[in-house]
Amino acid sequence: MRATSKLLTLAGRVYRLLLYVYPTPFRREYGFDMAQVFRADTHDTLQECGMAGLIGLCFLTFTDLLKTAFAEHIWEVFHMPMEKLQRLSGPAAAIGGSVWVSSIIWIFGFEPRVNWEILVSILVVVFLLSGLLMGMGLGGLYRRLPTGSHPAKRLTFGLSLLGLVLYNAASIALFLTMTSRLDEFSLIAIFGSFFAYFLGIAGMGIIAMSGRVLGRWSFTPLAVSALGLLFIIVVPKTGEAGQGSLAQSLPVLALLALYGISWLLLGVGLWSTHEEPLVRERPA
């Protein structure tokens, strides 16, 4: 009897230790209850089913622990930051768009007398900062999309995030290598990531439009993607015309500025519709 009691105490201690596998907020909220339930369950199982039942329960509990701990970590990553992000997504996207527009006007409109390396550095910082802020906006948009469109919204959000991460990684690589010339592979990688990014936003934009999730601002995600896609089609053609022509090309400048403005409007849309219901009411 004393041996089984010791065994139960040991199993309880091991389980309490293993609870550290869960994310801290979850463990703080439910760790005590889970340990209490495990203790009661092992005690009753041992009495009802003997040692074989106890071993079976421990195996079941520990495999479940690993599975659910993983699920809770994923949940924390995708939900907790998103909830905070939802509040900040509107201002973030608006600031991202503003940073983009003002930088484009300053760099290409006023042509500051700085050398190429400094200009690339500024561009990369603008890319990273606005990319981060726009990414927050995308997170907020994702949370606004109707829950009924789960597979499509996950796919498009995933695609846009992948593109965002890749083009920011490319920006960092540019910054670190300080290269003024890009080889063919780098160009394909950068434009490919841009394409994935804007295609993902386009998909989210279609879902947002069909659900009217941002009210009268529901067109803005589609506008962002359309301008972005147009940009990656126009830029290589402008580049072919000769070095330097990109900065002097008015349509390209206008396109870049409009792209930033569309993000600004998307931010305003997210901001102004923050209190609105997350999903459209279904007719009775």
Partner: protein
């Protein structure tokens, strides 16, 4: 705080359905929920703490269940135990899911998939 869309929560996962069903008639603590499910299903469904509290967390967030403020009498039960009960919204979701499942069973019955099965159940699967 606005309630989530009822339709978007369906279908419920089997474990969530069992938890809500366990709370349909009375408020229970975590282990009470586990015991009720085990008894009701003759031990065929067995929840363990990770799945149970993961589901409880989501059900609280979706406003399908709520924690009962009152604590049990220390003479009867451990006062640290948290009791949960169904919300009105949770009741509606549970009813909707039960109706959905009943409709599926009716469809299966219409295709005479249950005739042999119900005989088999009556004779204990012989």
């Amino acid at each position: 705080m606005t309630e989530p869309d009822l339709e978007s929560l369906l279908p419920l996962s089997p474990s969530v359905f069992h938890i809500l069903l366990a709370l349909a008639d009375e408020e229970r603590h975590g282990y009470g929920i586990m015991q009720e499910i085990r008894l009701r299903t003759d031990g065929q469904v067995r929840l363990v703490p990770g799945t149970l509290y993961g589901a409880i967390k989501r059900l609280l967030a979706q406003q399908l269940i709520e924690e009962v403020d009152a604590r049990p009498d220390p003479a009867i039960d451990d006062e640290r135990r948290r009791y949960y009960r169904l919300t009105d919204f949770g009741q509606r979701v549970l009813r909707a899911e039960a109706a959905r499942l009943a409709s599926l069973v009716r469809q299966a019955d219409a295709k005479q998939l249950l005739s042999g099965w119900s005989q088999s159940l009556a004779t204990g699967g012989e």
